[in-house]
């Protein structure tokens, strides 16, 4: 047992690469005083100049200027893979927390029934809703539609989506999750990872996987070895997120490999975490990832 109380170190970002394409702004910063531009998200027109309302990266498409915030709630797009937590069971729908401004909805008609049956949802199904998913359950799903007010409508009509069993949910800023072709990965260390576009990352041991459409959850104890790998990965993901590095399978695996020389709990210490993030970044640069 060891207690670690320390003085705060000013936490520096890893030295950012010199890149003249990127302009970082904070709220109130003047982006341009040229009036020929159009006002996009995250900006406001004030005193004849375009100012930022969020802290983030300036993006320009022709005449449209917008600022993409570094740390913000998730704004969904159709087709995104998300991980969310059921917070309410309503009539014919579940409300799901997806770290967006509004709670997402999962309609009863957009889930697979147990056993993959295809039929109209009856009143019986409606009464059974809490049996399928109850408050607190974690699910993976896909964004089916974005409504006019920004509410996301989800669906789980594929065997890869559905209720998630034993595992760890790690929340990170949504902007750090890199958009890839696939967000489901089985890492070589025996852990399955789901990188939700909404910034919720789910880690689960591969053994608990069962193909019942995700309605039956395996509650048998997870082996110590799997636990250690999961704790290590969890801490690696948080270390990368702390240094604002993009999260995808390669960056996580590199951080994982660099972390192997430490015990997994040592990764909680801020200096070790930043060292690992730095080593992972060096390796990514070396291998030509950008």
């Amino acid at each position: 047992m060891e207690v670690d109380i320390r003085l705060p170190a000013p936490r520096g970002r890893l030295a950012a690469k010199e890149d003249d394409e990127i302009t970082l702004v904070t709220p109130g910063d003047v982006i341009t005083s040229d009036t020929g531009f159009m006002r996009g998200h995250g900006t406001v027109m004030e005193d004849d100049s375009l100012k930022s309302t969020v802290a983030g990266v300036v993006e320009r498409v022709n005449k449209l200027i917008s600022v993409r915030p570094l740390k913000a709630r998730y704004t969904g797009e159709i087709g995104d893979v998300i991980v969310g937590r059921v917070i309410e069971v309503g009539s014919r729908r579940w409300k799901v927390d997806v770290h967006a401004k509004l709670d997402a909805v999962l309609m009863l008609s957009s889930v697979n029934l147990p056993g993959g049956e295809l039929r109209r949802r009856s009143e019986e199904d409606e009464r059974m809703m809490r049996k399928y998913l109850q408050e607190g359950d974690v699910i993976s799903a896909e964004v089916q539609n974005v409504m006019s007010d920004g509410t996301l409508s989800l669906h789980t009509r594929s065997l890869k989506y559905g209720k998630l069993g034993q595992g760890v949910l790690v929340p990170v800023p949504p902007s750090l999750v890199k958009r890839r072709k696939t967000h489901f990965h089985t890492l070589p260390c025996g852990v399955k990872i789901i990188l939700g576009n909404n910034g919720y990352i789910w880690l689960t041991p591969t053994v608990t996987e069962s193909n019942t459409g995700g309605y039956e959850v395996d509650l048998s104890p997870v082996s110590r070895g799997d636990r250690e790998e999961m704790a290590r990965l969890r801490n690696c993901v948080l270390a990368l997120a702390e240094q604002k590095m993009l999260l995808y399978d390669t960056s996580i695996m590199y951080a994982y490999e660099e972390s192997l020389k430490f015990e997994s709990k040592v990764l909680l210490k801020s200096e070790v975490a930043s060292e690992i993030a730095e080593l992972a970044q060096q390796r990514l640069e070396h291998e030509g990832y950008k």
């Binding site: 047992m1 060891e2 207690v3 670690d4 109380i5 320390r6 003085l7 705060p8 170190a9 000013p10 936490r11 937590r85 917070i87 109850q134 408050e135 607190g136 359950d137 974690v138 998630l164 069993g165 034993q166 595992g167 760890v168 949910l169 959850v217 509650l219 104890p221 997870v222 110590r224 636990r227 250690e228 999961m230 704790a231 290590r232 969890r234 801490n235 015990e263 997994s264 709990k265 990764l267 909680l268 210490k269 801020s270």
Partner: protein, 291 residues
Amino acid sequence: MVDVNLSEAEKTFIVHGIQDNFREDGRSNEEYRQMDLETGLMSNTSGSARLRLANTEILVGVKAELEEPKPEKPDVGRLEFFVDCSANAAPEFEGRGGEELATEMMNLLYRAYSASTVLDVSSLCLQSGKLCWVLYVDVLLLECGGNLFDAASIAVKAALFNTKIPSVKVRQEEGEETELEVSDDPYDVRRLDVSAAPTVLTLSKIGHNHIVDASQKEEACCLARLMMAVTASGSVTATVKEGRGSLDPDSITEMMQVGKRVGKAVNEKLLETLKEEEQKGLKRKTVGFLR
């Protein structure tokens, strides 16, 4: 407590992990997370401290005021605690939402500091029955990441360590009003001896085991917890049992043993850090909330 709603499977995972003495983040059952501590960051207080324990952020300010002692205790000064749960920490604290937690925390702090051995309150009295220092300790909860009580008490102790009370001389001549003479030198201050002050240690019972420094998720799995105020010498000045679950006497004794051991270590490390910070003196730059 601020609760997160976990699924059955997640709870099972956490409980089995604790059985295995290997928690979600790789810690064993008796390990603390890293704490960042800083004192003296608010110039408008007599003493202040900021503590960050993983995601828990606490700010404590101590303000010394001259007041009349309580009639039943004319020869001692006193400490007054106040806890404020900011709605920034959790939306449920909005309005009066945080009051229950705040009262609970306040009561525990009062009880922890009620023992006469922990702090020499008689030295705070300037004139018996007429004038004494009252230390208003304000705790502000800025972010919740589990284990709030421990974090708050550690921050309180650090802020008391940092507290500087101006030296005041009381003069009273026959038949005249009392006159106070405050030293002109701003560095002529009195410090409190906090070496015997307690910190709170919470042991959460999860499954059949108990853990220290529970994260927010672990708190959601916990049915009963024992909070104890432990001093550096290992003596316990207050205990409170919280939660719906029951604890059997054997496990309470066991938890007390663990609590004393860990509490001693926390206190020792805390004083060490505070002394280290003091040695750096004015050269140290305050970090504050800019990260």
